[in-house]
């Protein structure tokens, strides 16, 4: 047999559902080994550092949210979107439960917190487009966003899961508008060129990993719960939104980057460029390498 292909994979260690669980499956099972890989797993903290690791050629594949793929392409880093992990939960424009605001258009003259550079950036602007005098501000992390919202320093905040579901369940926050956050696996072009055929093998293994996850939910969610200290039940609840979560057969697992997802990323690309956040509106479609 051929020597196993070395593959270095970065995934978010906490704070992003699905990516974290699938990453842990890749790390703790021998699925990739069976597919001819010698994997090295890096649990990283945020999209910024994963992007940096990818462009520095310290990792080959990162698992992250759509906005990062758009940015990588927009800045000219040659990379492929090789799989979708499906929905990682929701992201939502929220207010405090006792706030009088019911709809986004009531945010006139109000302050909305988000995190620039993440997937929370675009919806914050898009969903408040046309509301006069709305002020969009950036925070360093979710903790800061919640602190600001809780202490009434801002009127609304973009949040994502699991805090979103957690806060809503506990009755702290109310959702004004939400949409699923979609996750993507990105490979550097270098990796694909260095290892012909590896992408296909990886995609196969990746699909198996997702399958392992959804068929061993309890075990995997427990792993994740131990690391993140997020309640196991909450993880399960948030994960339910994922399209693969209840699949019972490997063939039913869908890791393709769907045309709708591509459209969404295109929209993001155009949006970022229109707001002068990126310089280029990248060609998304040609950078997508869906499994055969």
């Amino acid at each position: 047999a051929d020597a196993p292909t070395t593959v270095r994979i970065a995934y978010p260690q906490a704070g992003t559902n699905i990516s974290a669980q699938v990453g842990m499956v890749l790390e703790k099972t021998d699925i990739l080994k069976k597919n001819g890989f010698a994997p090295e797993m890096f649990a990283m903290s945020n999209g910024r550092d994963m992007k940096l690791a990818l462009v520095s050629d310290k990792v080959d594949i990162i698992m992250t949210s759509e906005a990062n793929f758009v940015v990588l392409l927009a800045e000219g880093f040659e990379s492929y979107g090789i799989a979708s992990l499906g929905e990682g939960g929701n992201m939502a424009l929220t207010v405090k439960t006792n706030s009088g605001i019911e709809r986004p258009d009531q945010l006139r003259g109000k302050t909305v917190g988000t995190i620039f550079g993440t997937s929370l950036h675009r919806p914050a602007i898009e969903w408040t487009e046309g509301v006069t005098g709305v002020k969009i501000i950036s925070m360093p992390n979710i903790g800061a966003l919640v602190a600001a919202l809780e202490s009434n320093k801002i009127d609304a905040a973009m949040l994502w899961d699991p805090h979103l579901t957690d806060g809503v369940t506990k009755g702290s926050f109310r959702v004004l508008r939400q949409e699923p956050l979609e996750l993507i696996a990105i490979s550097s072009k270098k990796f694909a060129e260095r290892n012909p055929g590896a992408l296909e093998r990886f995609q196969k293994g990746f699909k198996e990993a997702v399958f392992y996850f959804v068929t061993n939910k309890q075990q995997v969610n427990k792993w994740y719960s131990e690391v993140s200290k997020v309640d196991y039940k909450l993880i399960d609840k948030v994960s339910r939104i994922n399209r693969n979560y209840d699949k019972k057969r490997l063939e039913k697992i869908d890791i393709r980057i769907s045309p709708t997802f591509i459209d969404k990323m295109k929209k993001t690309g155009a949006f970022l460029q229109a707001h002068k956040i990126t310089t280029k509106n990248p060609a998304i479609e040609s950078a997508v390498r869906n499994p055969k």
Binding site: V55, F116, I137, S138, M139, P140
Partner: protein, 240 residues
């Protein structure tokens, strides 16, 4: 005088041209220059510098006027030292990130937290050095002052401050450096201007050339401030 810069620049340019440096991490000098020109032309750089200067200046200024008096107090009174030193030593290593939620709670969003974080960062070097400086004032010179029944203010201004000046200025230099370091973390909180803002947004967007422009300006300001402080030191501590 600037030769290490010249060497660094040549190395950087040469290696970049030879394709030895990943341009996503360290773009060639020419693209940094281009980014610099663009940022200058759009007025964004000037405005950012002014914003950050304002934030750093305020935070650092608050540090100066709190850390130095506190340091003198702690350094000259064992009672005060025993009371507050444990708390100060406890707070010293707490990272800025950990302060952020409290900063928002106390100072809202806007410039408040920036002032607070740059203040926290520059506070401790100034404080520690002031305390040490004051504690190391010559016992003999103090005895002379007591012998002449100098007033407390006179002892402060005529003995303690001049004696501890070298240490104090050294702390101020370090503190100013750290205030700038902190401004990046600070400008993540609800600001949309400033060199820190420029750096961290550009970093998220992989615009490394713009990151470097921000670093360049921060570095230059630091150098300038330091030159000023060294000059001040030479003027004030002329007797050694």
């Amino acid at each position: 005088m600037f030769s290490p810069f010249v060497i660094a620049l040549l190395l950087w340019g040469g290696l970049s041209a030879a394709g030895k440096i990943n341009p996503f991490i360290l773009p060639p000098p020419i693209s940094v220059l281009r980014a610099l020109v663009e940022a200058l032309a759009s007025g964004e750089l000037l405005q950012g510098t002014i914003s950050s200067l304002g934030r750093v200046g305020t935070g650092f200024g608050i540090s100066l006027i709190t850390a130095i008096p506190l340091g003198v107090l702690v350094g000259s009174s064992p009672g005060v030292r025993n009371f507050v030193a444990p708390l100060l030593n406890f707070l010293r290593p707490i990272p800025p990130l950990a302060w952020i939620p409290l900063a928002i709670l106390w100072f809202g969003i806007g410039n408040g937290p920036s002032y607070f974080l740059t203040m926290i960062a520059s506070f401790f070097p100034i404080l520690t050095n002031t305390i040490t400086g004051v504690e190391n004032v010559s016992k003999q010179h103090l005895a002379v002052a007591h012998c002449f029944q100098a007033s407390r203010t006179s002892i402060l201004w005529d003995i303690i401050i001049p004696s501890s000046l070298p240490m104090l200025i050294s702390g101020v230099r370090t503190g100013f450096g750290f205030a700038w370091m902190a401004v990046v973390a600070a400008e993540m909180i609800a600001t949309r201007s400033g060199l820190g803002y420029l750096i961290y947004t550009s970093q998220d967007l992989l615009k490394t050339d713009r990151v470097l422009v921000g670093m360049l300006v921060i570095g230059l300001i630091g150098m300038l401030a330091d030159t000023l402080l060294v000059w001040l030191h030479k003027r004030l501590v002329h007797w050694v």
